[in-house]
Amino acid sequence: MASVETAPQQQAFIRPDGKEKVTGSGRYTADLTLTGQAYARFRYADHTHARIVRVDASRARALPGVLAVLTHEDVPAVKYGQMAQDRYLFAKDIVRFEADIVAGVAATTEEIASLAAELIEVEYEPLPAIVDYVAGMAEGSPLVHEDWASNERDENLVADGNTLGYSTIVKGDADSAMANADVVVKGRYTSDPSHGVPIEPHAVVAQWQGDKVTIWSSTQVPYIARSGVAHTLQIPEANVRVIVPLLGGGFGAKCDFHFEAHVAALAKAAGRPVKLVFSRREEFVAIDHRREGMVLEFETGVRRDGSIVARKARLVLDKGAYCGEGGFLAQMAAMHACGPYKMEHVFVESYLNYSTTQPSASVRAPAAPQVCWALEQHVDEVARAIDLDPLEFRRRTLIADGDEGPTKQVFDHIAIKETLERAAELIGYGEELPDGEAIGFSCGWWPSFSSNAGAYVQLNPDGSGTIVTGAQENGTGAVMAMPAYVAEVLGMRPSDFQILYQDTDAAPWDMGSAGSQTTFNAVRAVLDAADDVRNQLLDAAAEQLEAARDDLEIVEGSVRVKGSPDHAVTVAEIAASTTIHGKGAGPLPDSPPVEAASCVGRLGFESFLAPQLFTHAARVKVDRETGVVRVLQVAAVHDSGRILNKIGADGQVYGGIAMGIGMALSEGTLLDEQGRQRNPHLLDYKLVTSADGPAMDIEWVEIDTPNAGPNGSKGVGEPPCVPTAGAVANAITAVIGTPVRELPMTPERVWRAVRERATQEGDAR
């Protein structure tokens, strides 16, 4: 397989989609208008949990301009859900959260569509809301899914009361070992749900021609969206073409199959193209991808020398109403409750419970930031209990080459300790700070994902080339860097290549923009295709030049005989005289072996392939009178293996830190007693702005990483948002002397922690 000899970071990198993005000429899904296009609106549930007694759409259907009204009766009676099939396109019998879709409308204008959706009469019999996802585990609790034993689901999920997922990580005998610890520390934390909040709301346009539907969708995973449409409408995948115009961010919120089939069904019924564009409110309440709320309890037994004897943890995660692709959250959370630390005995159990609230699923590094935030505070509490500096405690307990992880995976070629040391240096740890300021650390890990991917590289008669990839560009630049990699293999210029991407009819299947996998897998495939082209060029040139193939080299767009540069043929001449089209997939890395037989609920994350490892250090200023926290500086050091595209990789860290600060301080979804969101808009769900941004120092620790992505690269995109909140939390604790045990750590919560601490001190006196 070809490798990237000289990293493209040494060249100025202007992303190929850049010009269209800065001039406004690029098209996003909501920018498309087709001739005859109608507009879609949904009628959402009027209750968070209720039985549908009657739906009467006659008044809506009679409204002039209404072209179609659909309910569950109008589409195939099949359930969907990647890991558990528990949902219908349009709710049938029961609604289970505030934005369950009861009906869809297509009309000639948006206003008529909205009015028609309101005119649909729905009669309900209310059922008890299940908002408290811990209480929902109790015997006799009302159930979110009464009939779910019959649902198709992954065999490693359970169906026990409201519990959908149950995963454990078991190593040794944590209960017995705890008795041998010098000190045992316990801690309990809770995290509110939060959101990915791409600035582009969801949009879908669907158009039928004959039996084939073309769907333009703001999805991160076009091939998975295609599968969802094919399954729910009961048509072959080949009859569904999903095209993603420019994608305005995703952060997981646009993973999985969402609304493509609803719009396609409406377009078929209306007999014309139909467009759906979400409002910001819908982007908060109606998508099935929020970051789940959690309750986390930790217990760690430690010796005075800092070695961890045993870790116990119990996590309860709020799945919300439906499973989708989010069934793996329990196991992923359990791995993060261990973290990249050496521990002799482990017992972690993690529950994933249904509730009658919005579904939870992948949001950038699903499950990791909340667990990391809680665990890293717990780690600091353990360090304090044995009078060790938090940096020193981590030095002694983080994994290094040859160490065994919680599931007995043995790690090699990892550099987390180096990330810790560099983060401490960059932030200036140990230097005197003004009153009210302090520094906190947080470490973490995240796997790389191995997945199938395929690509074509074809040359055009003028010598330019086209890269055809199934990969999805969500803004990170992972796809945009492909011309640089291919050009290097072929001795051509990046500007010689255009990319055909985000079209399921054009390229082989790809997992999409999920799991930080694009460079890891899709670039592997593209390099393999480039290698194929290189071989075809050399074969053709050898014949044309009557030279031995091994004597040839490709330089600056020509194939020439080494040592006689005049004895050459240009790539364009070859491409004009013969067909040059390469294809590639490349060999997948092996999953690391583990002995996790004692763990249950195994869903593929019991080992971490090419783990990404990282430390963030944060310096914060806390106003003890108001509880307002300002993050002044963040040092972020990551081991993501070799970095292929530095400007792209750096961009992931800058953005991840900002997202992490938002999660730390302001981003939390509030629910009322019925499970409705109280702040589904950007005024009360606060993202970090430019004025809030801290100074950011970023470094990469690059070491050789075998069994990984191209050139020893690992994933990059998700982890940067994982450790920031934990680092901020530990810095806050260092100022106010007590942890803030709820996420986000809003001024009110910080202020309350300060007050409680003062009260305790007063009581002690």
């Binding site: 100025a12 202007i14 992303r15 989609d17 850049g18 010009k19 269209e20 993005k21 800065v22 001039t23 406004g24 000429s25 690029g26 098209r27 996003y28 909501a30 920018d31 208008t33 990915g196 909040v197 791409p198 600035i199 582009e200 709301p201 420019l246 994608l247 305005g248 961010g249 995703g250 952060f251 564009v277 409002s279 910001r280 969500n474 803004g475 990170t476 630049g477 400007i647 792209g648 750096d650 961009g651 860290v653 800058y654 953005g655 991840g656 830190i657 900002a658 997202m659 808009h681 950007l682 005024l683 993202l687 970090v688 702005t689 430019s690 004025a691 941004g693 950011m696």
Partner: protein, 157 residues
């Protein structure tokens, strides 16, 4: 009932008929047909819809189109000049200030307005001037660097 109006966008006058309740954003995207300006929230919170109205930045989602009748409107499509990309557009690309690109049109409008009013802003002034434009990808660092660099080079847009 539609009302006749003239929207002058990037120097071209467009005669249009508008419902009185239509926002400037919707009028420019749908009646004029320029889709560079984006709708992210329809509530003046995200800034993706920013346009210049007689040189001043406005959230066009929350501005009635008829209020812009006969006035000069500049959108992201109007920022490139005869020589090609503006200095800010180039700097956004070179500094990694563009990822998904959805906030970019509004961000460029706000940055252009800032540099025309304050040609040599401090970092603090840049960050405050852009605080009404949400970006979820970049952490703002590349954007601030781009604006700082253009200002330092004395390239007022």
């Amino acid at each position: 009932m539609k009302v006749d109006a003239t929207l002058t966008v990037n120097g071209t006058a467009y005669p249009v008929q508008l419902d009185p309740h239509i926002s400037l954003l919707r009028a420019v995207r749908e009646a004029v047909g320029l889709t560079g300006s984006k709708e992210g929230c329809d509530d003046s919170e995200c800034g993706a819809c920013m346009m210049l109205l007689d040189g001043d930045p406005v959230n066009s989602c929350s501005y009635l189109a008829l209020q812009a009748d006969g006035r000069e409107i500049t959108t992201v499509e109007g920022l490139a000049n005869a020589e090609g990309l503006s200095a800010l557009q180039r700097a956004f690309l070179e500094e990694g200030g563009v990822q998904c690109g959805f906030c970019t049109p509004g961000m460029l409008i706000s940055a252009t307005a800032l540099l025309r009013a304050t040609p040599a802003p401090s970092d603090e002034e840049i960050r405050i001037a852009l605080a009404g434009n949400l970006c979820r990808c970049t952490g703002y660092d590349g954007i601030v660097r781009a604006v700082r660099g253009v200002a330092a080079a004395g390239l007022v847009p």
